[in-house]
């Protein structure tokens, strides 16, 4: 019996250790980036253009580029993604087609990001003639984010009680009217949480934009959606692997990593905060 107890203690300790290692991994990443990156951060760094062959100055155009491309991703993926979720949760009947749609969504989520990049090159850059541009990159990232938005939005719609829909239908409202007035408003925080999380991943992606519109340097900010753009993830990639003075720009790379992580963490905390608020509301 003593042996059993001993076994239990050892077992639980090992499990605890694996959790600690995972936390340590995250801790190392965050601490390393913050401690080295904060030296590079200044007002000039986030508000100025690069100077002296990208070895000095700021990263403003990469921040703006990332924001710009994420806006296009949002405009593309949210309307289609939420509509698809509404179809699945409110209209679709369980059957062969619905099962295939769900399988397609799950499989799309597993398609490698570089394959989305290939698709973007063949369809948006060449096929539709958008060229290497913010638009092509935004749409490519939009496709990548779509399965995520659909899945999380559907989950949010499913948490709205059936009685909300029935009450409205009983008063003579049409299906769409009930969805609009009695379902969507209640699912909105959940949809928002999922969408922000999905978009935060899109903002940090590099592989899909690699050949669809991002460049290491363009003078000025993009004027239209058909311009090429600079972006933080790609900037970090080049600064850390292909720059002619890699050691010299190391602190710029750290700074870029910190700004990128900060942007993504802000998006994540916003999402976690909305979810927290939402949970409180439902408990009341």
């Amino acid at each position: 019996m003593k042996l059993k107890r001993f076994e239990e203690i050892i077992g639980f300790t090992i499990l605890g250790f694996s959790a600690i290692i995972v936390i340590l991994i995250l801790g190392t990443i965050i601490v390393n980036i913050i401690s080295y990156g904060s030296n590079a951060i200044s007002w000039e760094f986030i508000s100025d253009f690069p100077k002296d062959g990208m070895t000095k100055g700021g990263i403003l155009p990469t921040i703006m580029g990332t924001i710009f491309v994420t806006i296009i991703t949002t405009l593309f993926s949210i309307p289609i993604g939420v509509s698809a979720a509404i179809y699945l949760s409110e209209y679709a009947k369980e059957g062969m087609l619905t099962r295939i749609i769900r399988a397609a969504i799950r499989n799309l989520a597993g398609v490698p990001s570089i394959v989305y990049g290939l698709f973007g090159v063949a369809i948006f850059v060449q096929g539709l003639g958008f060229g290497s541009s913010v638009l092509s990159s935004g749409l490519t990232l939009g496709l990548l984010t779509l399965p995520w938005i659909i899945a999380t939005s559907e989950e949010a719609l499913k948490t709205v009680p059936h009685s909300y829909r029935e009450g409205s239908l009983a008063l003579g409202a049409t299906k769409w009217q009930s969805i609009r007035s009695n379902v969507l408003p209640y699912a909105l925080p959940g949809i928002l949480t999922g969408s922000i999380l999905g978009l935060s991943r899109a903002a940090g992606e590099t592989a899909p934009i690699l050949f669809t519109g991002v460049v290491f340097f363009v003078p000025g900010l993009p004027d239209s959606v058909f311009d090429q753009f600079m972006a933080m993830p790609y900037h970090l990639y080049i600064l850390s692997t292909q720059h002619h003075a890699i050691e010299q720009v190391r602190s710029l790379a750290y700074g870029t990593a910190l700004v990128l992580i900060t942007l993504i963490l802000i998006m994540n905390f916003t999402a976690i905060f909305i979810r927290f608020k939402l949970r409180k509301k439902f408990q009341m």
């Binding site: 499989n107 490698p112 992580i261």
Partner: protein
Amino acid sequence: MKLKRFKEKTIHFLFFLAGISAIIILLGIFSMLLFNGIKTFKDVSILNFFFSTVWNPSAYHEPSYGILSMLVSTFMVILGSMVIAVPLGIGTAVYITEVAGTRTQEILKPFIEILAAIPSVVIGFLGIIFVGPLIAGIFNLSNGLNAVNGSILLAVMSLPTIISISEDAIRAVPKEYKEASYALGANRWTTLIRVIIPAAISGIVAAIMLGTGRALGETMTVLMVTGNAPAMPHSFFDSIRTMTATIAIELGEVPYGTTHYYAIFAVGTILFLMSLSVNIIAELVTAKYRTQRT
């Protein structure tokens, strides 16, 4: 009234279109890859493509398009990453669901989500400046850009997937199983090993498959830290070049419509089919587990 019905029908139809978009996109990606990729075989024999170890599309006299080295490299880093991530991920998932208190759970969950949100390029960057020198130091190598580094980073990338899906699987085990085991006098550890994990095993297998899929498709981290030598690797300390890295390196410089261009799409097709198979296996395993439950 008629107008209203027409409006409702139109709205229904629009939602339906959005609903089937996922099928259209998936088929679109596949047919685009296949359409471009298949043209490779006008100039390259299928046998050579799969079984030659030499990938040298820009050779002046005799360009060659063998993907075997890339396949081996890809499998190596997947294997390496899973050796690290599977025990660590499942251990953490079990800890979160079965050992930790509610408070610890509430703290750990956002941590895992944040780890999942860290961009691959940032992890790759740390692989260059942190993990690389560490490996070089420990094993006395000239640099740490090799398959070991790639495996470690891919393990980090796939951990959140493995943890969160195993967690769901363990949580889905009915409470009665646990209670019955306790009632028979088993302690928590025995219950965990003999009852809960066996009951959740198909979900855990699905988690491993999806983690494998993540490692298979990851591009930036391996591109940044594995050195990218396009040759057949002999050990984990060799520089390797995966399929994803090859696409990332070469697509930018290849002229449109050449054999090389199509060969890159052929590599993409293989990659797509592999990730699809991994996903389908995960689906089948999960489906089996759902029917067992009901």
